[in-house]
Symmetry: C2
Amino acid sequence: MRDVAIIGVGITKFGELWDLSFRQMIIEAGARALEDADIDGKQIDAMYIGNMSAGQFICQEHIASLIADHAGLAPIPSTRVEGACASGGLALRQAVISVASGVHDYVVAAGIEKMTDVMTEQATGALATAADQEWEVNAGATFPGLYALMARRHMYEFGTTEEQMAMVAVKNHNNACMNPCAQYHTRITVESVLKSPPVVLPLKLLDCSPITDGAACVIVAPAEKARKMDRVPVIVAGTGQASDTISLHSRQSLTGLMATTRAADMAYKMARVGPEDIDVAEVHDCFTIAEIMAIEDLGFCKKGEGGKLTEEGQTEIGGKIPVNTSGGLKGKGHPVGATGIAQVVEIVHQLRGDAGKRQVKGAEIGLTHNVGGTGGTAVVHIFKRGD
Amino acid sequence: MRDVAIIGVGITKFGELWDLSFRQMIIEAGARALEDADIDGKQIDAMYIGNMSAGQFICQEHIASLIADHAGLAPIPSTRVEGACASGGLALRQAVISVASGVHDYVVAAGIEKMTDVMTEQATGALATAADQEWEVNAGATFPGLYALMARRHMYEFGTTEEQMAMVAVKNHNNACMNPCAQYHTRITVESVLKSPPVVLPLKLLDCSPITDGAACVIVAPAEKARKMDRVPVIVAGTGQASDTISLHSRQSLTGLMATTRAADMAYKMARVGPEDIDVAEVHDCFTIAEIMAIEDLGFCKKGEGGKLTEEGQTEIGGKIPVNTSGGLKGKGHPVGATGIAQVVEIVHQLRGDAGKRQVKGAEIGLTHNVGGTGGTAVVHIFKRGD
């Protein structure tokens, strides 16, 4: 197995992209990634596309063929992978395995979701298909409802407060204001989060990530080739993936995601680093409570202390461990299949040192954490700034 | 890269499985594969699941997590891959890459589709999402309609007849009668195919594969481990995957699938064999014309002579190159995401020599050919009976 690097990144604006179709979005992200890598499309050997549900959102399966077609890259192998909101992370992992093994040299790992072509209730219905339909959703559970259960239990066991959760949203909106591609460029306050309309209490509207269109793309290549290129190479030092029960009621604990812990263990071990070595992290804040659980499960603080770490400002840019400098799912937007790749785009910018106003000074090791459903799938990657 | 083998296979009955749910089907196929391999579920390191559209068929995405959960195999990595009706073949290819590279040892490659929980018109609508929605389906094209265009052109260019196409269906139903898991155990005649109701002429009802529930599972492992086990090892000698334009109107030719030719070239080269070395093949006969094109594109005869080869009986058991001994998609049934894996189950039985009444004598090299949509994706695998 050889070392693998990210040599190019590209992303669309995230938001309600009425003027762009699914196929236009992916071409835009892909073209930017090729330009960033300074390579030609003809050099690409294969593609892995993360997408949760084009079948339900735009009535189109077989999108990997469609994308190879419209990118002018057929007949290269093109494969869609799906793990709900972790689809992007899974696509990267497959790309990394295929390059590390020597099967391919230059591989596209992309993520895309076009969510605003259906009515909002159809979109939330489609999103709920990430959870166990037969055993939970058909019994009345909604997706925010499941995360609200986790929030309630976290509050009960550890004293986590609604104010602390609100602080996650405030921080991530602040960061999004410095990210040109983010869906929201609006600052919010703890008070405005607390006063926002209830979705499923304790989660209010501003605790929830939005419905978003967007695409993101990275180019994976052997590290030895990356080191010969002009840009600072970003090495994929670790990759981890784990699964858990799809249904929440089968879990032993509601206050953390076992899949996150397992995937992080794999990735830390492979990268030979620990949580204390991470300089910047993009974590899966589909709801504010999810970020609090994630920073605990990833080892940035002890279990139960995620609210406190947030309140102390340690997850802000300039803090001990800056989290979601891109704005995260909450502020940047959450086009579900694209999110896992968009996280990588941010970490690559941070490690290259070209993240502009949101740059974490001297960042050398970064982490991405992508979750499917309520934690049935988790994918963690660790990146190092190369020599 | 190390050699890879199939050490266990399992399959459900194919048909309208009213009494089995999605999760029951996959557990049944998986348990049979584990039993066949004589290993414990705890030895499995990862899973790749081929599935076209659980989102549209049973309103459930994130099925890889659901399956890991219900198989009791969480927290192992579990990933769904999708390429329309080629999803199963893609799942096998990912499993093979992950074992060949040394990332994993024992990996499940499974395929599943539960298609009869929705009304027939919803099922055909879901199937049409394998074709280009914006540029073909929204303009009125149906899936059988697209294959009918190919059939018309094949008839025009090469003189292929409706009788020859009918002979594909007759042969495959004959073979299905000898396969206990097949959907149909009914013999048909050329006359009954020709007199069956028109779907899109020249394709009639009995030229078309049916709507089917079913699941299939194979266990992939390093060849060195397989050689130490009791069963005859079946080596994965070659794997190939290619893409083409998703829309038919963009193609240079309608009488063959470029993706098949490219994927076959890759697989033949890797396996160091040619079409003349193949003893038995399972090819993607979603419509009868598709089998005729496939046997040409795979090199079993010259372009345009597939109808003649069929008419001569050379694709029957006992012929020069027996094709679809399982009954194929037409006779065994076509649970779209499961089909690519079900093909492998048949080839493994043939190479082990335990295919019962449908055994091809002395079969040592077998091939599977799995197509997504109208040929936007194709996957070809070549298997050799091990020592």
